[in-house]
Amino acid sequence: MLLPVLIGVSFIVFFIVNLAPGDPARIIAGVETDEETVERIREDLGFNKTVVERYGIYMWKALQGDLGTSYYSNKTVIEAFMERIPNTLLLGFWSVVFGLIISMPVGIISAIKQYSIFDNLGMVLALTGISIPSFWLGILAILLFSLKLQLLPSGGNEFWYSVILPSITNGTQMMALMTRMTRSSMLEVIRQDYIMTARAKGLDEKTVVLKHALRNALIPVVTTAGNFLIMMIGSAVVTETIFSWPGVGRLIVESISKRDLNMVVGCVILITFIISIINLVIDLIYVLIDPKIRSSYGIMKG
């Protein structure tokens, strides 16, 4: 499934970017360059061929691991991407950590003590977290922690603690969604008979909740983790711009303003590739934690 989706993505992105009005060779050369130079650029970069031809050539090279070169620097797209992607993944990782640390306990306690003050407060906070757009949250965070309190840097990635504000900004929405999801799936599980059986056996509440209920309650949460990931890498585009975080999202935004088409198409394809790989890993984790699937695989093998 991975390869067809990637080819489809490259097809869509390539055509959107290349069918756009405006002469890319003219934009690269600038307004004041004479027609001859523009023509040379056009030939050098292959803009004199038709879009379909260009796509064919592009894909042929892409399959050999060559996504072209930036129009402005001599870096290849893959080099530029590899330089930036660790930062985006780092941001993504800490956003997930932030989301999990808060959403898991709040979701579980809210479900166990349904309609308590803690539950109500938690749900109001979760709803607020979903509703606040991440770029506003980022600005407010800079305003409070960087400009007023001067505790944390407002951008860049020079210090180890530079990642704190961006990952909170990036992770809040996911945290809020996860909290609600953990709560509702926990509520469903906790009413089931086998939980009552576990209690009847005389197990203490901690074992019942953490061992028996949580494992089943986590299944729908993990299933949607892939969607959260796509959301997170998407919102990283905005977060990286606010915090001048040198990741792929900012690279794409910068390349778009320079109309560095090769870079844009290449980065979007590569980002989708990375997301697909991580989704695959999540599917494998899903198999590990859900005994129902594990056993059905076992049967198939036998």
């Binding site: 499934m1 067809p4 989706v5 990637l6 489809g8 993505v9 869509i12 992105v13 959107i16 970017v17 069918l19 756009a20 009005p21 709803l127 607020t128 979903i130 509703s131 606040i132 757009p133 991440s134 770029f135 506003w136 600005i139 407010l140 800079i142 305003l143 400009l147 796509i230 959301m231 890498i233 998407g234 919102s235 585009v237 905005v238 711009t241 794409i252 935004v253 778009i256 303003s257 109309r259 844009v264 979007v268 980002i271 989708t272 997301i275 697909s276």
Partner: protein, 289 residues
């Protein structure tokens, strides 16, 4: 007596009856009602040319006061007025984008489920591909390529709606398509479009409505992020994301420049989410009494 009308009315009525019981949904509805009303009567409150887009350097960067409840921006324009006019843009983008792209998704979803086979395969792979690209990235690419204007923005933020509706509609059509009443409709000679739209699609009402409210919220947020990145409705049109981006440079001394536009976005998304939550509970067959 016309049974079909009685049926239709009772479904909408039933939904409304249960929606009214949900406190969150009612709060959400009231908030959205206020927002829409203010957006509609905006021309009565402020003159677009004089108050909203005309620069007035003498009054720039004023703190909130009686004359300017939310203060003025870096060009001396009243922030409250710009937020009210901004609501119009956001609501137009949210609603038209969901109507347009939602309809495309619904039609493709119905076609996929009804015809199956090769057609279904092609449509579902298409939706897989669209879902694989982060939606904001796709929106940025589309707007950057085709230029910044209202229509392009509506399409750009809406594209991600299409695969979601394809999936939802296909799933809900598949649950009803093999039921006996569809067979009965076939046997009395009803035509395919009639069966699709009158008998099948009316049964997908619940998930489509819930998704619509939540999608409008997402689309409004995404359009604001586009503006924030400088890819939104061009200046001087008042747009919440662009107002935030503009005020950012001065926020240390004048936090009100970034406070109020952001509050407006959060307020809108919050009310839509409240309605969406209430609607989901009201339409959930599991909770039916």
């Amino acid at each position: 007596m016309n049974f079909k009308n009685a049926e239709n009315r009772s479904q909408v009525y039933e939904t409304w009856r249960r929606l009214k019981k949900s406190r969150t949904a009612v709060i959400g509805l009231i908030l959205i009602f206020i927002l829409v009303t203010v957006a509609i009567i905006a021309p009565l409150l402020y003159d677009y040319n004089n108050d909203i887009i005309k620069q007035n350097i003498k009054e720039r960067m004023q703190k909130p006061s009686l004359a300017h409840p939310f203060g003025t921006d870096e060009f001396g324009r009243d922030i409250l007025g710009r937020i009210i006019y901004g609501a119009r843009i956001s609501l137009i983008i949210g609603v038209t984008s969901c109507l347009l792209c939602g309809s495309i998704g619904i039609i493709l979803g119905v076609v996929a489920a009804y015809y199956g086979g090769m057609i279904e395969n092609v449509i579902m792979r298409f939706s897989d591909i669209l879902m694989a690209i982060p939606s904001i990235l796709l929106a940025i690419v589309i707007v950057a390529a085709f230029g910044v204007n209202l229509f392009n923005i509506i399409i750009a933020v809406g594209v991600a709606t299409i695969p979601q509706y394809i999936r939802i509609t296909r799933a809900s059509v598949l649950t009803v398509i093999n039921q006996e009443y569809i067979e009965a409709a076939h046997s009395i000679g009803a035509k395919t479009p009639r069966i699709l739209f009158r008998h099948i699609l009316t049964n997908c009402f619940a998930p489509i409505m819930v998704q619509a409210t939540l999608r409008i919220a997402t689309v409004i947020a995404e359009a604001a992020s586009l503006s924030f990145l400088g890819l939104g409705v061009p200046a001087p049109t008042p747009e919440w994301g662009a107002m935030l981006a503009g005020g950012r440079a001065y926020m240390r001394e004048y936090p009100h420049l970034v406070l109020f536009p952001g509050l407006a976005i959060a307020f809108t998304i919050l009310s839509l989410n409240l309605i969406g939550d209430g609607l989901r509970d009201a339409l959930d067959p599991k909770l039916k009494k």
